[in-house]
């Protein structure tokens, strides 16, 4: 009798221990967590915001890579008020190890460089586990085109890692419902041709097939004129833009050059005068944090849809 009790006790104990272990897929790696990380660091605005909406600030010891390039807006500043910025640009190994971090949420070109000093392989000997932003996986493996599902996948995986699955699922349900009710009430027509203008005067830097704005534009009832450009973000030519004749231009706002300056540049250049978007002065601005994968993508889709289909 005793042995049966003992055995069942041991079995339930081991089952309990086994269920405490979580495995998630991060790009081409499977990462296993024995327990939710206690000292997490996230890089860049959009990734940090994902941590915030899941309510994970007390599992974090800091964030990196924001004030070097973007400014935190009021809403985010409040959210991260208690946390230090460990590095204004991408962190070095020493910064992460010095913070005694055990988890780094970053992406390729969102805090990590391929072949660089900070990668999942180089951080592993220091006991720092890494979860990579899904959209950025295109830099190290073959991946389908970008979609809002990437963002949902990241939230789900973070939920699993930090044991807040219900919160993550609820958030995603909320976003999906919000989006559905919004698009249902929308009067759309033929997909609107949109061009994403990030930066560049001699040649435009834009979002291609594998970058988030393509997915956002499509969710809003448009189509990215550059979606045959099989890259994430990249430089194309103005000729191609003129040829595709977009009906609306989506400006990504960040850094030193303002959205107004970018609009001015396009409006004033005689080479673009025949483009529909210029003739009708149709511009819409997305903030950097809205155009990169993160919770603000929902608002971004609404902003785009409202601008595309202003009735």
């Amino acid at each position: 009798m005793k042995s049966i009790i003992l055995t069942s006790l041991l079995l339930s104990l081991s089952a309990g221990l086994a269920s405490a272990e979580t495995s998630v897929q991060s790009c081409n790696r499977t990462v296993t967590f024995d327990a939710p990380p206690e000292r997490a660091v996230s890089n860049d605005v959009n990734l940090t915001e994902m941590m915030l909406v899941l309510g994970l600030t007390d599992h974090m010891v800091g964030y990196t890579g924001i004030n070097g390039w973007n400014k935190l807006d009021a809403e985010m500043r409040e959210g991260v008020a208690a946390l230090p910025e460990l590095s204004e640009r991408y962190p070095s190994k020493e910064v992460l190890v010095g913070a005694d971090a055990d988890f780094f949420f970053a992406g390729w070109n969102y805090g990590m460089k391929v072949g660089g000093e900070v990668t999942p392989e180089t951080l592993e000997p220091f006991g720092i586990q890494v979860y990579e932003l899904t959209e950025s996986c295109t830099h190290i493996m073959d991946k389908d085109r970008a979609s809002i599902e990437d963002m949902y996948a990241d939230l789900t995986n973070l939920g699993a890692i930090f044991d807040v699955e219900e919160r993550a699922a609820a958030l995603i349900e909320g976003y999906k419902a919000d989006l559905a009710s919004f698009t249902d009430s929308l009067q759309t027509g033929k997909p609107l041709r949109a061009f994403v203008y990030d930066s560049g005067e001699d040649a435009p830097f834009t979002a291609g097939l594998y970058a988030m704005p393509t997915a956002l534009i499509e969710a809003a009832g448009g189509t990215n004129v550059m979606n045959r450009f099989e890259k994430s973000w990249g430089t194309v030519t103005w000729e191609e833009v003129v040829e595709q004749n977009p009906e609306v231009i989506v400006i990504v706002n960040y850094g030193e050059v303002t959205a107004e300056q970018k609009r001015e540049f396009m409006m004033s250049n005689p080479a673009f005068a025949e483009i529909d978007a210029i003739k009708n002065d149709r511009f819409v601005t997305l903030e950097y944090v809205e155009a990169t994968p993160g919770p603000r993508n929902i608002q971004a889709i609404k902003t785009l849809a409202e601008a595309f289909w202003e009735n």
Partner: protein, 334 residues
């Protein structure tokens, strides 16, 4: 000279201890010495620090400092040897196409092939690129009969330009958002240093450094002139090419792990000559010593000037190198 014999290594050790003690994260000196003492003899000092601090000092800073010493010494002795056999005071390891080959290999690995061998992919591809470039220069020099000093330099420069153009083409064709990865690699950095990688530069540095040290007499003869060297029994053209290949091996392995760090190979031999004169039995070891110390300090600067950011070390060596050359111009003779 005896001052250098004793003072030099002391300065090196002091520099090493400073390099291990400073960085983005403030670690008190007592902790640093405690960690190092414990590595020599476990539990010698009571552990009052976190594992993170120990990891920083022992697994991040220490390998980095050792790599700095090896790269500094390696590039310096290659520069000194090339300056001897080409009789050109501007000869440097990056001049003869070796580094552009390394850059090509690294860029290919970073932007196009992916890291199919894990962390060692970039160093391996860079090394292969450097050796391939060396073979191309050797081939060109054979075809164009360019084994004299000036013509070898020209062949190297020509090959270097062509390979760099191809490398830039790779950058252009790659993902633009990833191009800053390449820029960082090309500007040089010691951040990738880890203990199990250090064996490769160490072995090559010891073997090739020993080879060069045993031939300082021939190097001296080459600095005087081809005819003089020939009358002293040296197979001039062949010796020049062998020194070039030895230099390529050292440069290739150093560039593979640290990117392109300029001016060390160019300046340090001049400094060595200013300290001990033109005799290569002294210039070679002194170049190695000064190169190691110089790069240690350049790395300290790179890690502290804009802390917690890590400045590419090539920027530091570039500024110091440029200033050095302005000063050198002010002197009468080179």
């Amino acid at each position: 000279m005896s001052f250098l014999l004793f003072g030099g290594p002391v300065v090196l050790l002091v520099s090493l201890s400073i390099a291990v003690s400073v960085g983005a994260v403030a670690v008190p000196a007592g902790t640093v010495w405690g960690i190092l003492a414990n590595k020599l003899s476990p539990r010698l000092v009571e552990q009052t620090w976190s594992h993170g601090r120990e990891a920083i000092v022992w697994n991040i800073r220490f390998p980095r400092a050792i790599l700095a010493m090896m790269v500094g010494a390696g590039l310096a002795i290659v520069g000194a040897s090339l300056q001897a056999v080409t009789r050109n005071p501007l000869a440097d390891p990056h001049l003869l196409g070796i580094s552009s080959g390394g850059a090509f290999g690294a860029i290919f690995a970073l932007l196009h092939s992916g890291l199919f061998l894990g962390v060692l992919t970039v160093p391996l591809m860079a090394f292969i690129g450097a050796l391939t470039a060396t073979l191309i220069v050797l081939g060109v020099s054979r075809l164009a009969d360019a084994s004299s000093a000036d013509r070898l330099v020209l062949a190297g420069v020509a090959v270097s330009f062509i390979i760099m153009a191809a490398a830039n083409g790779l950058i252009f064709l790659g993902d633009p958002r990833a191009s800053h990865t390449v820029v960082f690699w090309m500007l040089g950095g010691l951040g990738l240093a880890q203990w199990d990688h250090l064996i490769y530069p160490l072995v090559i540095l010891i073997l090739c450094g020993a080879w060069l040290t045993l031939r300082t007499i021939q190097l001296n003869a080459m600095t005087i002139g081809d005819e003089t060297a020939a009358t002293l029994g040296i197979a001039v053209a062949r010796f020049r090419l062998i020194v070039f290949v030895i230099g390529a091996l050292i440069t290739g392995v150093m560039v593979a792990f640290s990117g392109i760090i300029g001016f060390v190979g160019l300046m340090v031999p001049h400094i060595a000559r200013m300290l001990v004169g033109g005799d290569y039995t002294r210039v070679l070891p002194v170049s190695a010593l000064v190169g190691a110390i110089f790069l240690l300090w350049a790395d300290i600067a790179a890690r502290t000037v804009i802390a917690p950011e890590d400045m590419p070390i090539g920027i530091v060596t570039g500024i110091v190198g440029g200033a050095f050359f302005v000063w050198l111009l002010g002197r009468r003779s080179l």
